[in-house]
């Protein structure tokens, strides 16, 4: 860069030169991107055209192997069943036991009622 006598800046003319290796890299990248695009489009369209394949897990119901369960030693025993029922009833009573009884809390009355 030079400065002319009148203070004017003189810029030298420069040519943009493309390096051969740079051009090669650009071409390779373009080809790669193009190929990638085609590949993705192929994948998407091929999935859309395929009939839906039901998942095996959804359709096949597993056959449960019955577990051989031994009945209890008091199975069918009337006394035991009665005791079981009484325990269930009692548990219900205990769970519903109201130990707060807010209705019978002492009344909120005012003290120090006087005329100054």
């Amino acid at each position: 860069m030079e400065i002319a006598d009148g203070g004017e800046i003189i810029r030298p003319d420069r040519k943009v030169e493309l390096n051969a290796s740079l051009v090669l890299i650009l071409i390779i990248t373009s080809v790669f991107v193009f190929a990638l695009g085609i590949g993705m489009a192929f994948l998407i369209f091929s999935h859309q055209n395929q009939p839906a394949i039901p998942s095996p897990a959804a359709n096949i119901s597993p056959t449960l192997t019955p577990v051989a369960r031994k009945p209890g030693i008091l199975s069918g025993d009337a006394g035991a069943l009665k005791l079981q029922g009484d325990l269930k009833t009692w548990l219900g009573e205990v769970d519903n036991l109201d130990l707060l009884e807010p209705q019978i809390a002492p009344p909120a009355i005012d003290l120090k009622i006087n005329i100054q």
Partner: protein, 268 residues
Amino acid sequence: MGIRLTVFTTSIITGVIFFFLFAGISFASYKQAYDDYHNEYSAYRQAYQDFIVASSTYNTYKTLLTQNTAMEKMRVVLIKRDLVVSAYFQAVIEKMRETEGFSADSLNTFSGIVAAETAYLNDHQREINSAANIEDLNKVSGDFDDKYKTIEEEMKKAIGSILLAKIDLQAAKVDDLSARVNDTLTGLQNNGHDVLSWQRGLITARGKIDLYQTKRDAAQEVFSPQNSYYSNQEISLMSGQKFLAEGQQYLHEAGNFLLEIMNSLING
């Protein structure tokens, strides 16, 4: 045969009618007493608001008219306050009567306390009515304040005794259920069954009942203090209720263990 059947049927029907009649009366008594108390309390709150307005007006104008009005409003609110306490005591007595398992001795003791406090409140109302000036009224109002500390403690003890009666009833039931489970296991053992694992479950359930008992005793100590630590301070309903809630949880766990034993014996 026909006559016997008729007599038998008539007896049954009469019994059923009397049962529902008395059950209904018992329930109605508490409900009625509670409604009365609630109405007295509403009237007291209104009287208190009227007194506050009259007192404020008197303090602003200091005239004879505003003074008389303030005195009359104060007289009304003091009497209403006494009536609230009386009505509350009646509601608590009915609640005790209604509570299953509440002992007759405790009810008699509390009824005696209520009779004494009612006598005091009646005297107090006469003093309120005969107070001739502001100083007299302030004095009878202050007398109630001193007395109310005792009254409030009696109220809290009464509530505590109701709550204890309720949980004691459940504890007695679980003791019975636990004994029945034990009898069942003993019967099986005598028939040659191995019941060791179930017996361990029963021991755990009884351990829970023991833990319940410690919480129950702690609650009783709060409601009716025996040692100096609690007797020197005000009864805290909330502390007692907290102990009872913990006890209730232990009872529930004990019951669950017993039920598991029975489920296992029946369902395998």
